[in-house]
Symmetry: C3
Subunit: 442 residues, 3 copies
Amino acid sequence: MPTSTALPAPAAAEAALASGEAMHALLARLFPICRSLTGNGVRETLAIVREYLPELQVHEVPSGTPALDWMVPAEWNIRDAWVKNAAGERVIDFRAHNLHVLQYSTPVRGWFSRAELEEHLFSLPQQPDLIPYRTSYYQPNWGFCLSHRQRQQLQEEHYEVCIDSTLDESGALTYGELVLPGASEEEVLLSCHCCHPSLANDNLSGLVVAVFLMQELARQPRRYTYRLVLGPGTIGSIVWLSRNPEAVGRIRHGLVLTLLGGPGGFTYKQSRRATAEVDRAAALVLRDSGTTYEVRPWLPYGYDERQYCSPGFNLPVGCLSRTPFGEFAEYHTSADNLSFVQPAQLVESLRLAEDFCAALEANRTYQNLSPYGEPQLGRRGLYKGVGGGQEGADWQMALLWLLNLSDGSHNLLQVAEQSGLGVALLHRAARALETAGLLQPL
Amino acid sequence: MPTSTALPAPAAAEAALASGEAMHALLARLFPICRSLTGNGVRETLAIVREYLPELQVHEVPSGTPALDWMVPAEWNIRDAWVKNAAGERVIDFRAHNLHVLQYSTPVRGWFSRAELEEHLFSLPQQPDLIPYRTSYYQPNWGFCLSHRQRQQLQEEHYEVCIDSTLDESGALTYGELVLPGASEEEVLLSCHCCHPSLANDNLSGLVVAVFLMQELARQPRRYTYRLVLGPGTIGSIVWLSRNPEAVGRIRHGLVLTLLGGPGGFTYKQSRRATAEVDRAAALVLRDSGTTYEVRPWLPYGYDERQYCSPGFNLPVGCLSRTPFGEFAEYHTSADNLSFVQPAQLVESLRLAEDFCAALEANRTYQNLSPYGEPQLGRRGLYKGVGGGQEGADWQMALLWLLNLSDGSHNLLQVAEQSGLGVALLHRAARALETAGLLQPL
Amino acid sequence: MPTSTALPAPAAAEAALASGEAMHALLARLFPICRSLTGNGVRETLAIVREYLPELQVHEVPSGTPALDWMVPAEWNIRDAWVKNAAGERVIDFRAHNLHVLQYSTPVRGWFSRAELEEHLFSLPQQPDLIPYRTSYYQPNWGFCLSHRQRQQLQEEHYEVCIDSTLDESGALTYGELVLPGASEEEVLLSCHCCHPSLANDNLSGLVVAVFLMQELARQPRRYTYRLVLGPGTIGSIVWLSRNPEAVGRIRHGLVLTLLGGPGGFTYKQSRRATAEVDRAAALVLRDSGTTYEVRPWLPYGYDERQYCSPGFNLPVGCLSRTPFGEFAEYHTSADNLSFVQPAQLVESLRLAEDFCAALEANRTYQNLSPYGEPQLGRRGLYKGVGGGQEGADWQMALLWLLNLSDGSHNLLQVAEQSGLGVALLHRAARALETAGLLQPL
């Protein structure tokens, strides 16, 4: 059921193509940057995002700042890293792929026996051509990630190792934030982690969808205020939560956007509340989308919804992705690259995110102003003329369902659930009934 | 599980045969009458019903009377209608079948080109031998319904058209009403639409079942007061609701009876409340019946339950039918005739409606007067003598379930649901326990 | 998932073997005794149990004592019983098998025609080699149970009959009771019927499991007080309930143990409350056990849970068995013998009963003391070091689930239900979090 576009089909397809290419272009530009929890990679990334969303605020939070039960870590930056053989050749080279370095590796320089080096190597015997992505944020360590094939070629007795990184206790954690005010102060939170280096689906895809969604929302009238938070995983949302108690109190709905560029079907993971409005909206939008999807129950493992849904906050924040983490072969490897994420997949994800926001915007509770018997729709031009046939059009049913359930205790999403009718159709029907003086939003 | 009859099986079969024939005879007598929303066809129908139910009240409500959001329409009557060819032969003739005229056709007389006439013709290309049933109650129009084959034979350039109808603004809407007082003022509403012309299943079948059910109820002691309303679809129930606010407040359960003569299995459509006592009673009676059936959720489309279940009233009124409207090929065509409705089908529907009323009558909440441990049934003659075997008869289980759940918060229908035992069996067991001083109705 | 044992696997297997043999030895010792509702067989049985549980109290309640709606019956004892043919040979002999006598047979002595005798014989035509078990506790009668083959050999015209029994109105009903005090006065009730004669599974198996369970519980620290009641079916629990109103008020959970020695899978029958803590604990322990099992809804037929769950008491008492009564061929026949009940089956049942008690002991409601965001587990040594991989160990998930759901409204069993994780694992994780100062029991 088409929902938001008023363009004729060929023009819409052309626009989608253009969007997809524009989205992928942004993703390709961000891909080579070596992001981490902190550091210049995040700053560079957010600077590029500001070209798309000029109002984006970039916050710097000093290392050592307490944040809930945590503390902002030292800032990590890396200039170069390599392992050289006796001949002085780089047999592992950070410049070739930034996944080669264990994230947050401490600086190291020296000769190591192969046995010593092996304890600092990470590879995937089952996927011997791929470089894994590994981190050691909170436990000081150094290491290299490499393909298993490359690892097996390391046959010399000693290697020279260099990791030219810095861990700066007087550095900062960087995150981006953009607020689009709406008619109401009530907020919809959109959150993406931006701490992963050259991984296209995880999570440049979520970031790119969020950026284009905010551009689109900026062009529309908004009932809700929308807030985008782009920060490093876990510590980013913890820092944001610790610094924004008032905004936390205004969040009515929220969505973590991640893994939105791959080829798989969609997955919505429910918030801890399981039946919050965000959960119903997401399930309905997916139901109406015609795409393959799955709704999964809450799990206290995953992305930043873990923090938003911790019991003290218990915010209604779900998580929208395509195939979830760990369930596709490319996950956290060098195969999560620019060809794994396709423009059409990004556009489809963007449309779904737009429909999700549209469903929240549309979700009002109406009161039927003529609740005794059915109002006579015919004389208001809302009913077909010749009766007795079996047309039973969705439009007629949308009118009847809205009138029947608008007793002040069913909102539009609940009407969509009970009737099986699309949210967008019901929204149009509700507006027609409102215009006819038969419904009134509470 | 047999419930209400105490006759031995052959006598019961004979009585059923006689009932079926009597029911079908009434249906056959009513079939040729041209009923509509208003007019003499309804009056003639109700006059025949009064031969069966002499206490039936016939109400006349003047055209133009406001009723909730509606207004009683002008009274429509028709004497004749035809389309003649150049040779003066009737090529469409109301006297051959009263479905030939679009219901509520405005009067018309004159010559029309074939193209002009075509805009006023209704046929069914997919069922080329059947005349469809069509109405235009609230949008002035005229028209003829005919078989597609007949339509294809209209090859002349011009036809003479006559519809000798009247739309009388000073006429009336006619409906029938019968109240059978019971021990309580609380009411069970039974409602049938009686506005369709020569259609046997829709809804002479419902009317005939209701008439014989009221005859049967009149012969029995009644806990509830039963009210039958026979009126035109939609406007009839709206008029009744608008004129009877006090009776509306006394309705505890209600059932729309329709499409009860065809060969299909039974369908119970839940009231808007979904879990009202009427919904549980109907589901249990169907479960216990041994027939094919389906329970469907509430839908704000269908028959007069749409009005009874509008949110302002929200009455617990379900709808009992066999195959629902639009789901059998004969629906709203000339094939819905006297051979489509068979006596045995009418009798089976009547039995089910009787069992439904019996379930409502039987549904009390009991208090176990010996609730600490099981009472010793043996010394009260309610338990088998030699133990250790595996008889586990339903009767014993009925006693145990009633004793166990009669804590004042389970009524008999809930015991039937939880135990899987029949309503009639539990009713007999409850009376045995009441006689033994172990149960007391609240 | 191993729960309670800390022994290495081979030692555990050896201990299990020893337990099974010890359990079966007790069962074999009790098997030949002719127990009934009352009488010396019960006394002898309880005297042997006291060798295992020296603190067991043996109560004698005089015949004629009122108990709820019942009265303690006359005490029944039997010395001998036989049917002799004309040659004076015992063709049915109580000394060969105590099932041969209808329980509670009144004394009889004399010659009977075969037709007269036949009215007092019970056999199983479908299982012609087995002796059935039959009773006539509350309706005076006498009779013999015998294999159908044996019955068919009775071809003489007259037989001499002797049942040398006594029904003593000044006798008593005997039951056993053992209380193991815990930290709290709140009680867990364990109940077994001990009224059946030589039937091994029904219910010496339950009794033996209960005896060994109480021995095990006696060796452990206990949060709850545990009470074991060993009495005759129905009247035993009724007598106990009538005499212990204060203890009744302290029962928080209860389990009837029966039919625990056969080869079938486990069956848990829910209490009348259906979702009581006992019901959740039993379902989870079965789910975690890796064995075949079934959870069945409440039914007011079965064992002493009928009395505990009568509506006046409505205690949260379920019933744990293997294949339920009446669903295995050996039920209530001479085939329910010492070879039907195997040591390994008894041990498996004992383990399950122990895990059930452990689940109740473990079930606390915790409060997360660091509920805003996730607490940083890493610095408390509760989290793995190198991230990015997909280990997702159950231990980590147990920590996360407990932290996430410990908002004061989920107890540990509910966390086990929602997470799918084992009760024992969650219990260990909860203690680790408590030690780390992150959780506190309410």
